[in-house]
Chain length 448, copies 4
């Protein structure tokens, strides 16, 4: 008999500070250690890199893992299923408390290492182990970890299956069932269906977009919309700026490719461009054309912008950080007139990103767009698709895996409510096979 | 010297009952005669076909063309720029008052003839003349009509240019600048730019989506999203229903093609399917595969649905009317359990349409979806893109045509306000070169 | 030791078809049997009075009390806490299945009797017992029912306390903590606090407005806003129409009083006006001035409207049904021009009601208002306050009663989610002392 | 014959930087010189007091009065109709350019003097003249200024009538038709109707709330809701904080009065409390009880908060600035834990203010409320009524004044659109008697 405990450490009452612990008898696997940046944003003058974890816990910015003291067992591994900050951002603050390796896909491990290096308060010495999608790793005699390929808005995202003597616990947080991705492979549907046949004890899955009907549009849709915005115009000579998530490697790849088709030189500007795109290139996830330029420091960026102004805006496609109106990002500095790049009437600013639905971000975006418009910029907003499964994708995943128990995660209680209604349609019953957990709670499942 | 009058007959205070008269000295060209169906919808038990025009005018359902009595001139032509009801729906009620031919593209003329045939109150005897995109027709010695190819959510849509001795008046209502259409050609950008160089006195253009940022996604995007919904699934054997605008021939064409790829027989159900798709096929706008079946009468439809149930839902792709929850449409009857087709848990209903933003429609859709969900259907909503230009498409059109005067049409004052702000960005000045007209008003322009 | 079961029969997944069963060992008290009218509304041509309960259950219109077969115990009483249809509307369909008296406050019992009389399918022969706020009734040796005065948008609303040997179960569904009501007394705060001290095992409470911040405005606020709309004008001579909930006796009382102050004769029009207001008057809940006129039949109503037109609109204040745009109601018939009453430019229509947030109702209201405006009416909307407790009222009730267990009811899972977050702030813990029930579920509580 | 020019200087394209010039032949009266603070807010590190007017004009923060150079005439007076910053905030930047006195009501003149004193860039030496509501002042032989009493969310607000030989031009911007104000008198309806009889050439009026149906609730409603929040509770001993507009003297008056009824000492905290409330008290607009305390400096405020903590929160009612989440305001500092005042679970924060509908403010409020809630505060939001006329108030004003021409002001084109539709209902015709002006435009009216 196996006793499974699902411990909701963070991300069950909110979006962001994700952390789940899965206990198999007395061995524990932690999955994800994320940060909730909007809880940091509401405070002025915060230097996260120097803050203590307890302070960040109190702010609600990172998971309150002090509850782990009451869980009966030993942590054997810390697993990260992709490299976004809401999954790895608290590693540098919390991982050192556990004597356990950190296991993630290759791209994710590279980002985790960056994360740890920039930390100023704690030293994180845990072993970091790369495991590829499709591979397995024995954690204890009884527990094997398997990574299953999936898609999300960052490359090298996986589902994690924790195999126990009584079946698997599957962690599927932050994914889309994209059958026509532009980088990487479609999710491994065959393996998912096989897992369903083998027997899944529990599925822990994100509820973020469970309230949106239908299925998430493929990244191919964003690719084509963006292509149309960039190439389908009668004003091909105007200044154009693209801004998108630096970590969205597939999108960056498309943009660079379109720049080539436009006969423009792609210039990537921003510190995080260097980190995310550079790393993806070094690890071989994407190809970059010879012409591409990447600049991370403020001085290099301003020099590049100066060159663009001198040689002609129509020769370059600058791609930059700042789509959420982050103060200090390149686009914000351009809007403030703080760089050599001057916006002229008719220049285009293309946001290949949504607006994160948070009042702080909305205000920053409003400021940014107002300033850009006052200078004459034309705005193309939301040339983007979501990286999170919609309701019917969840429906399909649920029916492939056929788990005995389902636990929505990564969201507010309102988001979980949407998931619950879908799962009830699929035959699950709240309080019996379907569970609404709150941060700090442990769900017990006994299996033969 | 030429005196131009732009008479806002209908569609300047609202969406729907579009009618504009363009007076060139004492000759008048009427463009569009549309109906506003939501003004009919708010009344119960209305039989439009038997109603008198004055009654419909009083209801606000059709343009109040009694104001034409005060316009100094003679109507020389009635032009319809595409075949939607908000452009041709009042022809049968109003056209007989004018001794003038009705001029439209071939597909539009076919629809106008249907319209006139179903009329029960008036006899419309006007001559109906087909003019293709790219062609011109001399209306009077001084006035030549030109049709310029464009794209919209119905095939054979055109811009109309009224050439006068002093330059052209361009009517660009209901269009999208789609560079990758799935049926027909992209708008004739070269001709538009040429017109701009020749001199455009006035542009009358729709403001419908002037408030939406960026550009309208191409029909190709809808095509690919729909393909992904239909073909990209691990549950390929469930019942699937598609519902879309019968008049959206490009969309219908995609659906029929996807059915083939799915190995399913496409079955088109609904009276308007027969009319719109049948006509498009007969006129050679689309190809249909041998396998396709189309049924218009209630008995034929129910027989077809019975056959589908007997032979297996997985062998057919029924495509039907009813996406707005219209009472009596095929999908509504299925939701009510009034047909042999039974929805089972997991069957999919795909709305390849938006919800028309009107409380009556929203209520009908809510009823429909509620009933479908209670039967176990999974809903895929809004697998669709708009047929109306967004703000930046308007920006480009304005800069191609460089009209002296701009008049937003086809919308509420709020929609016009959005257009006005964009046009001001482009250098136009309200009350001088940019005009906000209200129904019943005439704008005078004197040209050398 | 007492075993308490809280059985969520209806109204836990939705608004409307409320029914809760409280089991005390093997004795059961049913509280409320309501109907969900919007589930009826989505179907055309439904005659509820002749429908069978199983059909209505299948439509989701009344509670699915077939689950009561699996509850171990005998029903000893059916209690209704006020007279709205979502609390009493299913009595005529379900009560006859139980050999138990129906217990309610005097006004509520009168409405229940009306309800039973209009039923055409079932004969309901249960004994009907009136119990006043502040009174108690022994149900079994171990169970005593107590009614505690509260406020809501209908008079004679109570909280029900089920006293058991181990403490009380309190049912507080549909209430507001109104300290300045215009009819009746403020809630009995002293008794509530006393109950808190005596010990409350469980509180079952509505979550309807738990998501709205602050406290519900008092009925006095509606009273004064309405007074200002009616009396505070420089156009005192125009036609004025008021429409409100016929069952909102306090509001009706204010309106009649304002009519007097305006020097106008109040004329109450509509069948439900007769029922609700007439009953309240007969039972002595309100006084009516001599001048008041009430008409219920279509013929009487039309005659009254004719008289108003003849004698002068400025002499009368017609008060009528139809605020939700119900087809066939008096105001709707006026808007359609089907009565002798003619709306003229500047006449006022005052909606002393909110719009029920349901697409069907919103469409009806839209139709109604559009027609009224086309005739020249000026609309005063939402001269109204809610009858449901807001978040901070719930906070106060929770801290007065200090229940061991809390169960939100009367709402969707989204509404319950709002309540849950508030209750967590107050120290309750989901799954332990705070419970999210779904229709059909029983919660077990064991008490010493 | 008189030629009237209405020059839209600012506030016709936006909310905030209001300025209108009224030319009577060659004499000009300027009305209002306001600032648009949200255009300042989107920039960091802006010190308005030291900025040059041209810079502020370029930011869109103050009216672009450079267009006055092209108006043919001399400015004879600068009139301010109330003391809010969107009416007087640009006085210190622009007034010195005109050799003309500044005329305003007594309270407004006091605020204007404060404004001028805090200016660091320009010296404003214009004569400042106080004129009371009900009084008139001859400006030139042909022009007389009259102030007519009205109500708004600040005391001593007036309508301005500019009497010319051909009739009056009435400026009615920022008002409500409050018949039960809590401080001051109701608007002077008799004089307004008399003006209508005498003949009004043009009405310039705010469109801010023209889109909201019905009438603005009276300040008495806010008074009573606030009273209920403060006094109607079973938790009378908890900490309570009220925050409201310091300039809303009527509201402040109510709060102070309620503090007395609660047996708490009212403590007014914040620099602007000192300015606005202190001035109102000195000028005799309100009475303050002996017990009241007012502190403006940070040190005094913190000392007062310390005393409150020491002596018991239940003995004081602190009333403070910060309702919009302004960084650095008292409430924000409390939320940040920067003052001696500690929020405990159950303490109440009452926002007697709306949230200004601007993303910057919404973000600040979100931050503020999040922090307050994390500390355990219970939030009562929007215990408030608007100070701006709703649609039907505009309807009544229009019918009292019967102006020949109407010009909506103080709003975006969308707000004006709402006004226009109302005015069309009242018989006005756009482009003829109803005018949509844009900043920088002059409307010419010739009168016999």
């Amino acid at each position: 008999m196996t006793e499974i405990g699902i411990i909701a450490v963070g991300g069950y009452n909110e979006m962001g500070r994700n952390m789940t612990a899965i206990r198999v008898n007395e061995d524990i696997i932690i999955i994800d250690m994320g940060i909730r940046l909007d809880r940091v944003q509401i405070h002025e003058d915060v230097d996260i890199d120097r803050m203590h974890s307890l302070e960040l816990i109190q702010m609600g910015a990172i998971p309150d893992d002090t509850i782990m003291n009451e869980v009966n067992g030993n942590v054997r591994a810390i697993v990260c299923t992709h490299g976004h900050l809401d999954h790895i951002g608290a590693i540098s603050k919390l991982a050192h408390r556990y004597t356990a390796p950190i296991i993630a896909t290759p791209y994710t491990t590279a980002l985790i290492k960056h994360q740890i290096e920039s930390e100023r308060k704690f030293g994180v010495k845990n072993n970091i182990v790369a495991l590829k999608a499709g591979e397995t790793l024995e954690i204890t005699k009884d527990i094997t970890l398997e990574f299953i390929n999936t898609q999300h808005s960052i490359i090298d995202t996986v589902f994690a299956a924790i195999h126990t003597p009584s079946g698997a616990v599957v962690y599927a947080c932050d994914f889309k069932l994209d059958r026509t991705p532009t980088v990487g492979e479609a999710p491994d549907f065959e393996r998912l269906k096989e897992l369903g046949r083998e027997g899944v004890i529990a599925l822990i899955t994100e509820s973020t977009n469970a309230g949106r009907n239908g299925k998430t549009p493929s990244e191919l849709i964003a690719h084509m919309m963006l292509k149309d915005v960039l190439l389908g115009t009668e004003e091909a000579d105007v200044g154009m700026i693209v801004t998108t998530f630096a970590s969205h490697i597939a999108r960056m790849n498309s943009i660079v490719q379109f720049a080539e088709e436009m006969g423009r030189i792609p210039v990537l500007l921003g510190r995080s461009m260097e980190r995310y795109v550079g790393t993806a290139y070094q690890l071989g996830y994407i190809d970059l054309p010879e012409s591409v330029e990447i600049y991370g420091s403020r001085r290099d960026i301003d020099n590049a912008l100066k060159k663009i102004m001198e040689e002609g805006k129509d020769k370059y496609l600058p791609v930059m950080t700042g789509h959420q109106g982050e103060p200090g990002a390149v686009l914000g500095r351009i809007a403030n007139g703080e760089t050599p790049f001057k916006i002229e009437t008719g220049d285009r600013v293309i946001f290949s990103a949504n607006v994160i639905p948070n009042p702080m971000t909305q205000a920053n975006r409003y400021s940014l767009e107002t300033k850009l418009k006052m200078k004459g910029a034309r705005i193309y907003d939301n040339v983007h698709v979501s990286g999170h499964a919609y309701r019917e994708d969840h429906w399909e995943l649920l029916r492939m895996l056929k788990p005995e128990h389902v636990i929505p995660a990564h969201g507010t209680i309102q988001m979980h409510s949407e998931y619950i209604q879908m799962a009830e349609d699929a035959g699950y019953s709240l309080g019996d096979t379907l569970h609404l957990l709150r941060n700090g709670e442990e769900l017990y499942i006994e299996e033969e």
